[in-house]
Structure formats: structure tokens, C-alpha cells
Amino acid sequence: MGLLSIIRKIKRKEKEMRILMVGLDNSGKTTIVLKINGEDTSVISPTLGFNIKTITYQKYTLNIWDVGGQKTIRSYWRNYFEQTDGLVWVVDSSDLRRLDDCKMELDNLLKEERLSGSSLLILANKQDIKGALTPQDIAKVLNLEAMDKTRHWNIVGCSAYTGEGLLEGFDWLVQDIASRIYMLA
């Protein structure tokens, strides 16, 4: 982390964090964001564009950018990379067929220099669906152990449907970002 970016963080009045949610279409990104925010998740259309949610979480303000995952709009993801503190990669653990696509897109994303300093949370979503792969299996498929050693990452199983695992995941992410950018009081 450069000196400038540290100063930039310290200067902020509120303890803001910028979180970017990405992943293949149908992985549950929007549902996760709404669920965390305690909103109704029963009617959600596939995201055409993006949504922003500002959520107060513990003593931090999270600006969560939820960007659509359809193939056509994945090329726009890079428009959101700047100043990202936390990256959330969402996986549909029940979509066995597209795990290769999922791995490829994640690998591409992690090559991105502008994201090199951000903490990475992988959410193995849809654990409530019978037949879903466990987070351990997902970690194997995505070959997470082979990731660059400087990256802070964690994988957590969750269900946006029941809410299970979401807080555990975001707790880790927020703590990791906080300790990384010296904001822990």
C-alpha cells in the first residue's frame, strides 16, 4: 500500500469501505446485498447495469457496488475497479457445469492490477440447495491455494436464501480491510 493511499484513507471523515460484488450471472449477488441490508428478496430481476447500497456495518460505512454478471456486461466490470477495498466473488455452488467459466473469470479478475491491494472474499452461495458443492470443493475447483501469496482471501459457504454465512463472510472482509488500512482503533 502506497503512502498516498494510506493518507487518503485516514483523511476520510467516515470510515468508508468500497466493496465490489462480482461473479457469474445467476450466482446471487443482488440477493446477497439485499439480504444483508434486511430488504425483501422475493422479487429480483437479473441486474441490467448495477446497484449501489450504502450500509452501516459495525462502525464502518460500506459502499457496496453490485454489478450485473451477464456475459454481455462483464466487460464493464473494469469500470468499477478503482479504489476497491474489498472484492466479493460470488459462486453458485449448485451450478456445476459452469465452474470452469467461473474459474476463468475469477483468474482474469485477479490479474487486474487495480484490484491487487483489495481483500478477496469468496462466497460459495446456495448452500441451502441440495446437491450444492461445499466451500472446500469450490476452493479446490477454483484452485485458491495457488493464489498469489500477498493476497488476503477467504472462502465462506453461505445461503442468500436463508442468510446463513453472510455475516461470517462480511465480518471477515470488514476486519481484514480495517486491519490492512490501519483503521483499527
Binding site: 469500470n79 449448485s94 451450478d95
Partner: protein, 347 residues
């Protein structure tokens, strides 16, 4: 130029005409950028990299949309396409914000998004004011047998489980129908807890899924008919051709579909991507006890969303050429399989 087709109501004053030119060139550029796909570089993007030029562009588009909205009151016919056009312009506007959000101050992003959502709200209000709601009627035309049958009727093949190979890891078998030709495939999920279900690599088959599943994946189907009960989560359909689907779900995504009809009930807006010749109509499947299953899955209400299709390959102000509403006289009637227990066909 497509100025005329885009906004027929806006050619009266010169001011409006110039507005419109800017608008259409904007749309043009967006779609060009769109077509260049993933190889587009930073320089080809319509990013202005300057807050003021973004704002002036944004305000132009906003004014156009507002004047279109204002005209709605005086239009008596053609309201639906008019609203569709406005909705498309609003999503263009939203996209403009998205594309430029990386350099905009957060205040401007927030206020632009607020404007977009206000416009959406206005459109919704006008829409419900000016277009009367269609009445929902659940057609239950007796327990008529359906007339749709494929010739080679065979007793059911119940959920044959074929292991699917995944390159990196040996994945356990998952329930589904795979690699069949000319079969009637029936899955009765009543009393079972079915998670994800896969239907893939079928040719000229008829598939019936009775009861509720959590998630459905459909991949590589040709000339098939697929009838499914409520799906609690989402449906993902890829690479289908010459098929008929009758399905109910919370979310439906359709990729690479050709010449296929979809009879849907869906709580959110269905989307298509890389598809053409696809047509949409309301859900028309029934079996003994479907009402309870639909209620249990919160899919009992018709939402009308079967016709609110978003085409990710057509982010423009005019109706996508890739999909259409299936004309009523070409729709199949209710598909009723009440009297066909587990494939014991009685014809």
C-alpha cells in the same frame, strides 16, 4: 438515421431536434461500444472523463425523457410502445451513469442515480395510470387432455442419473435427464426434496417435471417440449433450438436460444442474451395439485412479467428484434397432465 423511429414526437421544434440528434448519437455510440464487446479499450468508451461534459450529456437525456413522459398524457393509442421506448431510454441513462461512475464524484453518482430512479417512478406511475391492468384469470378449461404429444410415446424413464464430467474435480452425480433422443421423460418431485435439477443434451424429447424443484439448469436441447412445475429459485437455459418451454420460476435467464417459445410465469423480468426468434406467452401448465405447489413457491399470482423481457444484446430505445410476444392464436392451450400418472399414458 433512426431519429424518427426513436422519438416520433420530438421533431416539432428545432431545439428538440437537436436534442434528439444528440440522444440518438449517444444511443448509437452506446450500442457501438456494446458491439465491440470485450476487446474495447479505454479510449473507445463513451466516457467523458470530465464531470461537466458528463453532466451536460446526462441532463440532455433527462430532458428528453421528461418531455416524452409529459407527452404520454395526450397520447391515446400506442401507449405501450411509447412507454417501452421511454423505459429503454431510462436504462440507457442508467448505463451512462454506470460507465462513467468510475471517475465521477460520489455525490454526482448518487444524485444521477436518484434522478434515474425518480424517472423510473414517474414512468411506473404513468403506466399504471394510463394503461388499465389486465385481469388475471386462471384458465381451467376442464380436465382436457393436451393435444401436444410427440409421436414416440414410451413409458417413463424415471430420472436416470448420469454422471457429468467436470474437468477439475470429480463431481457427484446430480439428478437430471441427460443424453436422450425421442423419449418422454417424467420426474415426479412430489414428496421429494429436490435441489437442483439438470436437463441437458436432449433431442426430440418431452420432459415433464411435476412438483417443486429449487433450481433448474437446461443445456443443449433440440426440438424438445419441456413442462415444469414451480421452481423456487432460478432457471438457467443455454443453447436450445426449436423447443417449447412451459415454466414458472422466480428468475429466468435465457442464453443462446433460437426459434423457441417460452410460456412463462416469473416474479421478476426474464432476460435473454445472444438469442433470436424467441417468443413469449403466459404459463399454461397444469397437473393435480399444481395450485398448492404454485402457492407454496409464491408463484400463484400472474405478474405479467412474461412479456417484460430484457435483451442484454439490445440495449436500445426500440423493441428488440430478437424476441416477440407469441400471437394468441398460435399459443398452445393448457397443457394438462393430471391424468397421466408417472407416465402411464392413457390415450
Amino acid at each position: 438515421m433512426e431519429d424518427d423511429t426513436l422519438n416520433p414526437n420530438l421533431t416539432e421544434s428545432t431545439e428538440d431536434a437537436s436534442l434528439q440528434k444528440k440522444h440518438s448519437s449517444m444511443v448509437e455510440r452506446l450500442s457501438k461500444r456494446h458491439q465491440t464487446g470485450s476487446d474495447n479499450s479505454e479510449s473507445s468508451s463513451p466516457s467523458f472523463e470530465s464531470v461537466s461534459s458528463f453532466l451536460s450529456r446526462f441532463n440532455l437525456l433527462k430532458t428528453t425523457i421528461e418531455s416524452n413522459l409529459a407527452q404520454s398524457q395526450s397520447l391515446s393509442s400506442q401507449l405501450k410502445p411509447h412507454f417501452d421506448n421511454i423505459a429503454a431510454s431510462i436504462s440507457d441513462l442508467e448505463k451512462l451513469v454506470a460507465e462513467n461512475s468510475y471517475f465521477l464524484p460520489s455525490y454526482d453518482v448518487r444524485s444521477s442515480l436518484k434522478t434515474v430512479s425518480d424517472l423510473k417512478q414517474k414512468l411506473d406511475n404513468l403506466n399504471s395510470q394510463l394503461i388499465p391492468k389486465k385481469k388475471f384469470a386462471f384458465k381451467n378449461k376442464g380436465a382436457k387432455k393436451d393435444s401436444v404429444f410427440i409421436p414416440q410415446q414410451k413409458p417413463s424413464t424415471v430420472a436416470n442419473v448420469v454422471s457429468e464430467k467436470t474437468s477439475s474435480i470429480a463431481v457427484r452425480d446430480s439428478p437430471g435427464f441427460r443424453n436422450e433422443t425421442g423419449q418422454v421423460l417424467i420426474q415426479d418431485c412430489k414428496g421429494l426434496e429436490v435441489g437442483e435439477f439438470t436437463v441437458s443434451d436432449l433431442d426430440s424429447c418431452e420432459v415433464r417435471i411435476i412438483g417443486t424443484v429449487r433450481a433448474l439448469f437446461v443445456h443443449r436441447l433440440k426440438n424438445c417440449k419441456v413442462y415444469v412445475g414451480p421452481v423456487m429459485g432460478s432457471i438457467l437455459i443455454e443453447e436450445v433450438e426449436g423447443c417449447v418451454f412451459v415454466m414458472a420460476s422466480h428468475q429466468i435467464r435465457i442464453h443462446n436460444a433460437k426459434k423457441t417459445d417460452f410460456y412463462l410465469r416469473v416474479r421478476s423480468r426474464p432476460i435473454i442474451e445472444d438469442s433470436d426468434g424467441v417468443r413469449f406467452a403466459p404459463y399454461c401448465f397444469t397437473y393435480q395439485g399444481i395450485e398448492d405447489d404454485l402457492r407454496g413457491a409464491a408463484l400463484y399470482q400472474e405478474t405479467g412479467n412474461w412479456a417484460n423481457v430484457d435483451d442484454f444484446k439490445w440495449l436500445r430505445a426500440v423493441q428488440s428484434p430478437n424476441w416477440s410476444v407469441l400471437p394468441e392464436n398460435e399459443r398452445v392451450r393448457i397443457v394438462d397432465v393430471s391424468n397421466m400418472n408417472n407416465g402411464k399414458e392413457e390415450i
